[in-house]
Symmetry: C2
Subunit: 272 residues, 2 copies
Amino acid sequence: MLGLIAGSGPLPFEVASAARDRGLQVAVAAIEDNADPALERAVAGPFAWLNAGELGKLVEFLRGAGAREVILAGAVSKRALLADPSRLRPDARALALLGRLAARGDDAILRAVADELEREGLRVVESTRYLAQRMTRRGVLCGPPLEPAARADLALGLRVVASLGEHDVGQACVVRQGTVLAVEALEGTDRMIRRAAEFGAGAVLVKAAKREQDMRFDVPVIGPATVEVAAEARLRAIGLEVGRTLVLEPERSSAAAERAGITIVGLGAEDA
Amino acid sequence: MLGLIAGSGPLPFEVASAARDRGLQVAVAAIEDNADPALERAVAGPFAWLNAGELGKLVEFLRGAGAREVILAGAVSKRALLADPSRLRPDARALALLGRLAARGDDAILRAVADELEREGLRVVESTRYLAQRMTRRGVLCGPPLEPAARADLALGLRVVASLGEHDVGQACVVRQGTVLAVEALEGTDRMIRRAAEFGAGAVLVKAAKREQDMRFDVPVIGPATVEVAAEARLRAIGLEVGRTLVLEPERSSAAAERAGITIVGLGAEDA
């Protein structure tokens, strides 16, 4: 039995389906206000809706379902929690955990949750464990070939996100003609793209993992929704770090990119 | 005769007034859509309104006024120019210059303009030349003493802007409890603060110069307007890099900070 702690977006669906394809049963703990309600109908095994603060109940549910390995997939919006802390209803176990957290970077919180689960004998594994063949490869994945100016912008973007990755900051930026238009922190990639769009068309988005990203958590992804936002923003390209990012619903994402004339490209260290 | 190329905000007023205090006459080239219209009444010497693209006319005006040294003070909104390039009316000289510019980082453009002026025998000097005693000093400048948590957030912010400074990106970020809430790129400090405010009160703003900031251009400043935005955002502190940033209208800025319970503090490398 695989335990799946499900945040927002399509990643939990893809993890559940990939695990099922391997013959695994999946017990899903869906995080309220974050996980897609459709998830409940999409999976067959044990299912529970939990508040992001119900750590004790989470451990109980996963152990009760007989899970040995656990995957965290999809984002849990820290933004919503920070803006309205009353939406977090921490149980005793979560309160004890929060008390021990000195820093509160995303990774720090997730790592602490993972440690708690591991202490209970639940092994937290990489969210990409069953999606290995899906990780971004180097080179143009879809869309028109890249011009040198776009390649130079992608290289600059890659260097910028690499600098930020040291500090547990967001993992994306938008660049055009050598100027960094916007850098993502806590607001999310879509909002960051929309902000950059105010400065006009033809920019590129770069998305990468943090330098020390713990691949058990919140792997950087794009999907059809991000591509649609990129199309509205009239971006010319989306660069994704090879091996550590993922395109969700690849057929739909590629089709949307082709329609908008957006190149999606996998970028390695040699492209920076 | 000192030539003053005036962008937005109070810095041109302060430079003009400090230069006058030293017995210098000042010829002001005010950049349309950017410089404060009140500047025309505030200065006594030669005065001209110029479009940001009128480089030839700028050289003519400054030379005609007998300027030998030139100061660039205040920001020229690249954002407005990028959003609506029709607002830039480049003359032949400006077009030739733009054609030669490969990258378009803020500094790259300003450096090219400075080079053009220098080629005409106009020496571009630091905008802070007459404001040396006003550069930020280390320690609390006004407001309540800092708690250790705020000091830790300021240190993180300082490290984040240091990383970004390598790439000619904006020079400010907002941090709270170890989480980077927002990073400035092209949108400007005030907008970045407002975005961070959505995540709640108690954060700190850090503002610093780029690592290789050419102090002839666009020195990072805060003034009463920034402090008011910080107050609305319920920030607890504003950290400014020592020696390379400036508080404009210091009495008004301090008064606004004291009223809002915001600490303004000068941060050195030892605070990172």
